[in-house]
């Protein structure tokens, strides 16, 4: 794959196009990441970081929708939780 980990943008360090970088927080630790591909990201946004470079910004609505849809689908199908396979 391409190991991609979600992190939260804390603050921009440089907004010039090629040297763009920001401080990103991942589960309690922070790391400088390159931001050339997500110039529109703002502090508080979640980005997906691969090889030190943020490659996409989270669509928080889509994330909510996916989980909600999933939970509704499983509720509707009245699963007992017994999945003995």
């Amino acid at each position: 794959m391409c190991l991609g980990i979600p992190g939260r943008v804390l603050r921009w360090l440089d907004r010039s196009p090629l040297l763009a970088c920001a401080e990103i927080e991942f589960g309690g630790i922070t790391k400088r990441c390159h931001m050339a591909c997500v110039p529109e990201a703002e502090p508080g946004d979640y980005v997906l970081v691969h090889a030190g470079l943020a490659i996409t910004i989270l669509d928080a609505v889509a994330a909510e929708t996916t989980l909600a849809t999933l939970d509704r689908a499983t509720r509707d199908s009245n699963v007992t939780g017994d999945t003995s396979v």
């Binding site: 991942f26 630790i29 922070t30 970081v49």
Partner: protein, 351 residues
């Protein structure tokens, strides 16, 4: 120790360097003697060492002693949470403690790269001194060699530890039985994460901190309690996974652990996620794995948490009769899958 009869007042400048050690310090003669007096005896003074015999003569009170030896080549020498000196003492003491022995004496052999700063050497020796004080071991013998630049990476240490075996301790790997509980005494993977990040200059804020710490105190209380502990092993290189594989191979039994039960500090977890590593494969230097009779698991945990100052001690799995799937881990899907045995040092992944 009698004072040296003669020490040149006017030292020959090329032999002595104010900032760093040179080959001359390892060549015998007055520089070596001065090194011993000013840097070794001044820190580790005790009756056995003071005798300055070629061999230390010890007076054990127990008829059985335990001996362990280890070499320390950690790079970098100083890392978040510790340094090579502290690591050497605690590592050796921990090896004795998990064998059920009370650590008493330790030897200290140093191989030092010429040009190593005195400040670094002193810091390491201070750290050895402090760790020995904390664990109540006496440095009773030692050796110092200085080698040409590039032959070793800064400082290598070798320590041999001698402990006295008491009346109670772990039973040994032969006692492992299906149904035994597997416990860890604290959070896992911290030392491995700290060293990897320090060595490769992976910058995280805060950096992962080594768990380098002595286990002798809490384990001695455990042995004194006579609770039925089958075996104990400090989870150093290869982490908890390596210990489980070793036990499984020695006993021809299986071991299954639950990922969710393994205590992992958030910083270590995050570093592992970012580097594509699993904390169960990373070294610990202050956490050990125990196999205990299942009926005593709660009592052991209670003792470690309350009296042993190990609040995160946890039951993480059990010994199984299966030989076909020796070591397995249950992750979020609730299914046991084989846990691979570590090979080589962990490398961060991109894929």
């Amino acid at each position: 120790m009698p004072d040296p009869p003669f020490e040149p007042v006017c030292s020959i400048p090329q032999f002595v360097d104010a900032d760093c050690i040179t080959l001359a310090y390892g060549e015998g003669g007055w520089l070596t003697r001065r090194f011993l007096r000013e840097r070794i005896l001044s820190r580790f003074d005790n009756a056995v060492l003071r005798a300055m015999h070629d061999a230390a003569v010890l007076d054990p009170t127990s008829p059985r002693i335990a001996v362990t030896t280890d070499s320390y080549t950690v790079s970098p020498l100083f890392f978040a949470g510790g340094d090579i000196g502290q690591l050497a003492v605690y590592g050796t003491v921990n090896d004795l403690a998990v064998a059920g022995a009370r650590p008493r004496w330790i030897t200290l052999a140093m191989i030092i790269e010429e040009g190593t700063a005195w400040a670094a050497i002193d810091a390491i020796l201070d750290s050895v001194q402090a760790a020995a004080l904390v664990t109540g071991v006496a440095i009773v013998a030692g050796d110092t060699k200085v080698v040409p630049r590039g032959v070793v990476d800064g400082v290598f240490l070798n320590t041999t530890g001698i402990g006295e075996v008491g009346a109670s301790g772990p039973m040994g790997m032969g006692a492992l039985s299906a149904g035994d509980a597997i416990l860890v005494t604290g959070p896992i993977g911290q030392h491995g994460a700290a060293i990897l990040c320090a060595r490769e200059s992976f910058e995280f804020d805060p950096p992962p901190v080594s768990d380098c710490a002595p286990l002798a105190g809490p384990l001695q209380r455990l042995w004194d309690s006579r609770l039925p502990v089958r075996c104990a092993r400090d989870a150093t290189r290869g982490g908890v996974a390596a210990v489980l594989h070793e036990w499984s191979q020695a006993s021809e039994l299986g071991i299954t652990v639950e990922e969710a039960a393994l205590p992992v500090r958030p910083g270590v977890r995050a570093v592992c996620e970012l580097l594509g590593l699993d904390p169960i494969h990373l070294a610990c230097e202050g956490t050990c794995v125990l196999a205990v009779d299942r009926t005593a698991a709660d009592a052991v945990l209670q003792l470690l948490r309350c009296e042993g100052d190990m609040p995160l001690a946890s039951a993480v799995g059990e010994v199984t009769p299966s030989r076909s799937t020796p070591v397995r881990i249950v992750r979020s899907m609730g299914r046991a899958v084989p846990l691979d045995e570590p090979a080589g040092s962990p490398l961060p992944r991109i894929c």
